[in-house]
């Protein structure tokens, strides 16, 4: 279950529709609607962390499923850049890109489960 320290950027053509049909998947995450995942800016991610997010999730369409063709790829590049900038600033906030169609909540659930497990492992591995 996601809590309010997760900010989820949701594509209008995928993530927002998925969330409307299966709101339990994102739980209490703070939803930010965007017209397409390609509209995500590095600054959006940094601002979210600045305002207290410990996890930033972008729900984009699966490959080949994007109305704007390259939305998820653009989002992935920017999210990687944002993650690098966050690390440079000393933040451990997690950046997650989920590719899930509006009718495929299981894809989102499995991405989230894997990411949360990764984060838990990283916390365990971190030196005291």
């Amino acid at each position: 279950m996601l809590s309010k320290d997760t900010v989820a950027f949701l594509c209008a053509n995928g993530g927002q529709l998925l969330d409307a049909a299966y709101p339990e998947v994102l739980g209490d995450a703070v939803r930010v609607p965007i017209p397409c995942a390609s509209r995500l800016d590095v600054v959006h991610v940094l601002r979210a962390v600045e305002q207290g997010a410990r996890r930033v999730l972008v729900v984009a369409c699966p490959a080949g499923n994007c109305r704007s063709m390259v939305g998820p790829d653009e989002a992935e590049r920017r999210l990687h850049r944002a993650a690098a900038l966050l690390r440079e600033a000393g933040s451990h906030a997690q950046c997650i890109l989920a590719r899930a169609a509006a009718n495929a909540p299981e894809d989102l659930r499995s991405t989230l489960a894997a990411s949360l497990e990764d984060a838990a492992n990283q916390i365990e591995e971190a030196p005291a």
Binding site: D41, V42, V43, L46, R47, V49, E50, L85, L86, E88, A89, G90, S91
Partner: protein, 229 residues
């Protein structure tokens, strides 16, 4: 345009030190185009500084602004109020902007957020290439518009050198030999015979080697005191 790279955050933070009120000032011209120091990049830097402070349990106030350009004093006038407030200003303008702002506001602590790199052009989205060395004695008419000063690793004026192999530079096999490009360009223009002419030894006194350069347009320039009633 002037092409620059942002400095690593650690370096910027070291310069900022324990300042609590930080102004990040962007420039809306060259460094905006090369995605190094425009409004958006200043927002990223300001956000990183805030996040770093939060992680360190410190409280800092960071403001951002963007001037049309930092290389003309009249635009820098906008900084006056902000510099009254700020302990330090991180400029994401090029080195020209940092110099001029420091001259206009000599008591303000103004630090560079960028490493100013070269005069270049956009080669592809997200990639810029050096095109001109600003040597003050242009030879592009002789080289088909290809600058041997910056595009040849040895700045050779009568090339190519012996290190050019299969059209590639010996310094980097992925880099095309500038003189190969010059030869190809002149051939394309039917000017290959011009390659026989020898370019004389260059007077580097017109370049930076001759000290600080200045340019004066007589009909516009007024020396201090001139033109006063």
């Amino acid at each position: 345009m002037i092409v620059a790279d942002r400095k690593p955050l650690d370096e910027i933070l070291e310069m900022v030190g324990d300042a609590n009120r930080i102004l990040v000032s962007a420039c809306n011209t060259c460094v905006t185009v090369c995605l190094a120091g425009g409004r958006r990049e200043a927002a990223v830097l300001a956000s990183q500084i805030r996040i770093h402070a939060q992680e360190a349990g410190r409280t800092v106030e960071v403001r951002e602004n963007c001037l049309e350009r930092h290389c003309d004093a009249e635009f820098l006038a906008e900084l006056a109020g902000e510099l009254e407030w700020a302990d330090v200003m991180v400029s994401t303008a090029c080195g020209v902007g940092v110099n001029l702002a420091s001259e206009v506001y000599p008591s303000a602590r103004i630090i560079p957020g960028l490493n100013t790199s070269f005069f270049g052009a956009t080669d592809a989205p997200g990639r810029w290439l050096e095109m001109c060395g600003g040597c003050g004695d242009c030879v592009l008419h002789r080289t088909g518009g290809i600058c041997p000063i910056v595009r040849c690793a040895k700045s050779i004026l009568n090339g190519p050198c012996g290190g050019s192999q299969d059209g590639k530079c010996e310094v980097d096999p992925d880099t095309t030999c500038a003189w190969q490009e010059i030869i190809d360009r002149l051939a394309l223009q039917g000017r290959s015979a011009e390659l026989e002419a020898v370019e004389p030894v260059k007077d580097w006194g017109t370049s930076h080697s001759g000290g600080r350069r200045r340019r004066i347009v007589d009909e516009v320039f007024q020396a201090e005191g001139e033109g006063e009633a």
